[in-house]
């Protein structure tokens, strides 16, 4: 039980930050402090997304076929190739091609496991989903066809098939690699930008409120507003 809780320490941090942030938002009367609370609350979500992005036994999605002859240049394969990520781009690519047979086998298995029956193996219980990746929990999208264009085959991270020298069986089990899924990182970058913008707008509002009311304390502002309302009604 204790081990279970400790293993998921990052989730506890997320929950704690979230609660602290929300509490500050609701309990503090100072507008700037409210914004700080709001920031804490948002930060907890950033950490949550980053946690989601770490998958044990994961690997980057790889394209097989579809761009075998000098594939980087062509419009579709090239774009996907970039997904493999910078430095070991080429080795990556070649290895994937040379290991095509093994990969195809794994892929067939995967399609059965994840594409066709998401309800079976893909089914997860609440806690299983948190850390143990290999059950197809967090599979990236496998797309099997789309009208009008030749879609390259794509294998998902669960296949672990991009480890060039790894034994396919072992890789499919994929228990020993900690993989950072780029997508949640990208998502949270977007959310960080939104957060920064929100803070900027909030702080500039606080400045304007200070100019208009002479205070940033919510209670004082409310008292001033109540006076205004009362004067209106009496008039």
């Amino acid at each position: 039980m204790l081990e279970f809780a400790l293993e998921r320490y990052n989730y506890w941090i997320v929950i704690a930050l979230m609660m602290i942030g929300l509490y500050i938002v609701f309990s503090r009367g100072n507008l700037v402090k409210t914004l700080i609370g709001l920031n804490l609350f948002q930060t907890s979500v950033f950490i949550f997304y980053i946690t989601v992005g770490k998958v044990v036994g994961g690997t980057a999605p790889i394209l097989i076929g579809g761009h075998s002859e000098g594939g980087h240049g062509d419009d579709h394969g090239g774009g996907h190739g970039d997904d493999h990520g910078g430095d070991h781009h080429d080795t990556h690519h070649d290895a994937a091609l040379s290991a095509e047979d093994a990969v195809a086998a794994v892929q067939g298995d995967l399609v059965n496991r994840m594409g066709a029956e998401p309800a079976g193996d893909g089914h997860i219980t609440g806690h299983e989903s948190l850390h143990e990746g290999p059950h197809g929990v967090e599979s990236n999208s496998l797309f099997t066809g789309s009208p009008g264009e030749e879609v390259p085959d794509l294998i998902t991270r669960s296949g672990a098939a991009d480890l060039p020298h790894a034994d396919a069986e072992h890789a499919a089990a994929g228990l020993d690699v900690l993989y950072s899924n780029p997508l949640p990182h990208v998502l949270i970058l977007t959310a960080i930008v939104v957060g920064v913008a929100t803070t900027a707008v909030g702080l500039s509002l606080a400045v304007r409120i200070r100019e208009a009311y002479g205070t940033v304390e919510e209670d004082d502002i409310e008292a001033i507003d109540n006076k205004t309302t009362l004067a209106e009604v009496m008039a």
């Binding site: 709001l38 609350f41 997508l183 998502l187 509002l205």
Partner: protein
Amino acid sequence: MLLNDLPVLPVILPLVAAPVCLLLPNNRLPGLFASLIAAIAAISSAMLLAEVAANGPANYDLGGWAAPLGIVYRVDIAGALVMTLVAAMAAVTIPYAIRSIEAEIAKSQTSAFFAMFLICFAGLIGVVATGDAFNVFVFLEISSLSTYTLVAMGAKRDRRALTAAFTYLVLGTIGATFFVIGLGLLYQVTGTLNMLDIHERMVGQDNRVVRAAFAFIFTGLALKLAMFPLHQWLPNAYTFAPASVTAFLASTATKVAIYAMLRFLFTVYGFQFGFMDVAFAFFLLLGMLGMFVASLIAVFRDNVKMIFAYSSVAQIGYMLLGISFATPEGVAAALVYVVNHAVTKAALFMAVGAVVYSIGSSRMPAFRGLAKRMPVTAGALIVGGLALVGVPMTAGFISKWLLIRAAFEATLPVSSLFLVLFIVSTTLLAVGYVGRLVWEMTLREPEGQVEMKPVPMGMIIPMLLVTFLTFYLGVNADGLVKLAEAAARELLNTGLGTGGAF
């Protein structure tokens, strides 16, 4: 070919036009430019609606990346309907704003105001157009952030606009963050962000993660759409924002959030989940509470803008009620309600804005004897008020009638007859607040002489246009009802997992 780009055109156009708008000089030019953009967006949305109604959902892969890997825009009938509504409302409120903001904001902020307006507009359309769950969050925030600014711009007339905007910002951000937490959990379960893809991958899964995601997403959306106990930001924001902003927000922002809710309820989650019944019962209860409590508060308010703001909260209750039936008739009624209420509230807030422009106050005493002082504006207020109550020959009647008919046909946790009686009795509360306003306007003499500015034609014409629409939708509703029924069937089919695949 431009025609193929229809699903993205109404999003891209205002988004690109906004910075251009910012560069224009602070005269009438930014307003005219923004009006032109909104008009083009409205025309292309209407074309898209015709196209979608005839040929089924329109898909657009952004950057040529096929779904589910790429971000896809997917517009079905419900989407096209709401998109056309938003674009049309922008196309009438922006020309209205050109004159109405002259007294409301500093002249040096004119181009910034219209740039913000366009960004808000782009965000709202984006929520409707996209088929990507995370994109919904991004667009919601694009529209919300610009909305906070727009609300705060009412500060020149009343500094309380600043505190209203601040409260809105805090609550709106909490809502958006809840929404993002929910999306993160969904992503954790499915590994995808495409709505239909999520739906397919979630079939048969019913565990704590999925349920927690549901709770987070719908609490977040409930904050955005001002569902009854989470509506605290709305009355002040609507009351102190500039008139054109209130008219635009009241007719679009909450409606788009309702649309997002429909999307997530039926397209992303669907009926396979055991807890959907609980959720629907919850919506039913909160919708009823909202209808009653918010209407009651509206009766006792002194500021007419505030009265209509509370009335908006109550009307959202009716829409939730329609959604909670979870039948094609109920959802269709909710969609018709969305359109009709948007048009009605736009007319009302524009008329109130005209009074504020002319007399300088939106409080009850300013409306005393208005029928003699400003007969046209008073007429618009009366037509709009009757539509709120649901008098035949107005838009409000059609939506209430559809809702009541849907209530009789649905199987519900409470007796249908009780529900119908409840709807009728809350309508009586609407008679209370609308009646009070009409009584002040027609039967009471104005107190003393007030200096009145003549209302410019630039404000009167858009106001009369939506007022006429309020009347027209009450007389000739067939087209709208048919569209809404088709949209609801499509939505629920996806929810049942029988249609809507790529």
